[in-house]
Symmetry: none
Subunit: 204 residues, 4 copies
DNA sequence: CATGAATGAGTATTCATTCAT
DNA sequence: AATGAATGAATACTCATTCAT
């Protein structure tokens, strides 16, 4: 038991080290230029051990993506009692962006997109996580806001996409084409404008 | 002289053949999986000749992208005399999408995005062509529409991005993650909804 | 003591399991394609235990071969009282072939032959078992038949080889080059012909 | 033309060098232990060039075997006018053995046998060359000897196999299990004995 | 004494690029 | 100017063997 526990612990530590090294390497080099030997070396692990944990380069990549991909956070936490619709929408936007700009989500998306022709399934999964699920979360929040009379009744599935699309246009799209893109200083102001537009359409 | 002319002509023809073969190959395989030997073979040219024309795989890639990037069409042609604002906006949307979905623009964007870390300048140029210039064109149209009283006065630079962002969200974003994505059958209806939203915001 | 006995028994059982698994694996895959890890797994034993019993892959191979080599059966049992020379020779042939085609003797020979350059001593031993000893047995039977007047006096050491050679030509040689070779349906008829030839040479 | 001729010549020389180096290497190491890089180095050629000439290790091996395998010589040359049956049979035996013991035929056969489980087709081809075709040649000679009254009428297809089987038993079989086996000094005497046996069965 | 995770050397194959003709 | 054969470095993956627990 003590043995097994220890082994499990060591194994988990190695697995984590591999995932970290792999994330670094993939971010630096993309998928095809990343090298298994280099990843193993950077994780202080032999190549064989690496392959014990992950069957192939693709499997490793998938694991990296799945771990690093921003999981859909629970936006319902944003429905604080005293907040106005404007407050909530602002917070949603900021949460969306922080989710996207932390954890290297933009860079990972670039890599996934690069692999679309070779790994369509992976790309589809990523799209599901990055777009569909996050949209569902947003939609749930809006439905609640409608129920509470904070937004006028409308198709929240659509307006959620609309909101997401506006954010992407201003912040994600440029980041896709520029590895050095950072959220600009006037981000808050831009978010305010977007929220205004949204409220003009759907506010009560 | 006639000889030189002839040689030049032959050389130009080969260059064109190489560019075409390379485009095909990059679209099929992405950058890293594309092969210089295969491109040369498909262009009916020796590898040495290929390297006479393009110094490296990267140089060839850059040339291919620059040539293939869809040039910003002149949207001003859409300002037909008898059209309503709704008519014009609809046509704009369709023109935008046809530009995006023909000539493999989605696939090209995928490849460029994939190479962002390795070729940042190229990516920036592409973004300029694919986003900024097209936005400028859209903005010009909208400015005219404002002048003509078809839209209420507003910041057209912003509303043009808003419109582009909405289109991308519904049609370009999914295409980025799915090589087989086609414009859905209800595209026209969706465009109508987007136009409605736009007009609710900016219509007179 | 009882403990030691028990341990010894367990150890012997594991050793036997390893040998069995190894034989299976070598027969399926040949020497170089066989894998120590797979053998250990199939023997329900850890690789370390496997190496406790056998120092190396080669050592394991040697042990497997030595155990699996068909021991020279006692052909003297075939000298039944009422049988004619023809009867006895027929039975000898059939016994020879059954020894060769059961217990994977052909496959074993293939593997040993394959490893001749790497394990010359083992191969020599195998040849001794597979050819010399069996020939000695045959020779002994023939000497007895000569004594009893069932064959005319001659060099039995040679005629025994002659008989073995004829059988090998028809049945063993093809099996060496075809893993799926089975004894043909007309085997008995062919044996009769061979016996006829033999009797024409050495019969009384 | 001059260019092409030169290139062809260089290419052929390299191909030959590769085949020679590969033969050496396969004989030394067998199939699985042989290394493409080492073969390339020994042939003074890059690995890529090696792969230009032969698609894979298996393809190279097949080519080596096919080139080195002793082609069925034309035994009809042995039917000299003044020779007795005994003379002819002796010469046939010697020719058979010289074919088998030159050109490393025994070692090559060992390698092919080793690869039977992994490359059954190759093994079948080898068997055809090494056994069937040579037997056909022998049979043809015997048929002629029968026609000329030098042997009594009989099934030459069978007697040819019989003769081949006897030779194999004495000379090829031991060579298969002993890489250092050489034709013994009393080979001629043994051949004489075999010929005697054969003539006792089929002589006139 | 048994375990199985870890090792690291080893291998076939590919590909952008160069160079002799 | 054009060829295409040649290069050699690079890479994902395997496997017999060892060692800490």
């Amino acid at each position: 038991m003590g043995l097994d526990t220890h082994r499990r612990a060591v194994s988990d530590r190695k697995r984590a080290a591999i995932l970290k090294a792999a994330l670094d390497n993939f971010l630096r080099n993309g998928f095809s230029r990343a090298g298994m030997a280099e990843i193993a070396r950077e994780a202080d692990v032999s190549t064989a051990t690496l392959y014990k944990h992950f069957d192939s380069k693709e499997a490793l990549f998938t694991a990296v993506i799945k771990q690093a991909a921003p999981s859909a956070s629970d936006y319902s936490a944003f429905l604080a009692p005293g907040d106005t619709a404007r407050d909530i929408l602002r917070k949603l936007c900021k949460a969306y962006l922080s989710l996207q700009f932390e954890h290297n989500a933009n860079a990972l998306m670039r890599i996934v997109i690069a692999e679309v022709p070779g790994a369509p399934k992976l790309a589809a999964e990523m799209y599901d996580v990055l777009a569909n699920r996050r949209n569902d979360s947003l939609m749930a929040v809006m439905d609640t806001m409608i129920e509470r009379g904070m937004l006028k009744p409308h198709d929240a599935a659509f307006s959620a996409r609309l909101g997401g699309g506006m954010l992407k246009e201003l912040f994600v799209w440029p980041a896709l084409f520029d590895a050095d893109f950072k959220l600009p200083p006037d981000t808050d102001r831009k978010i305010d404008v977007l929220v205004d537009v949204f409220l003009e359409l759907y506010g009560t």
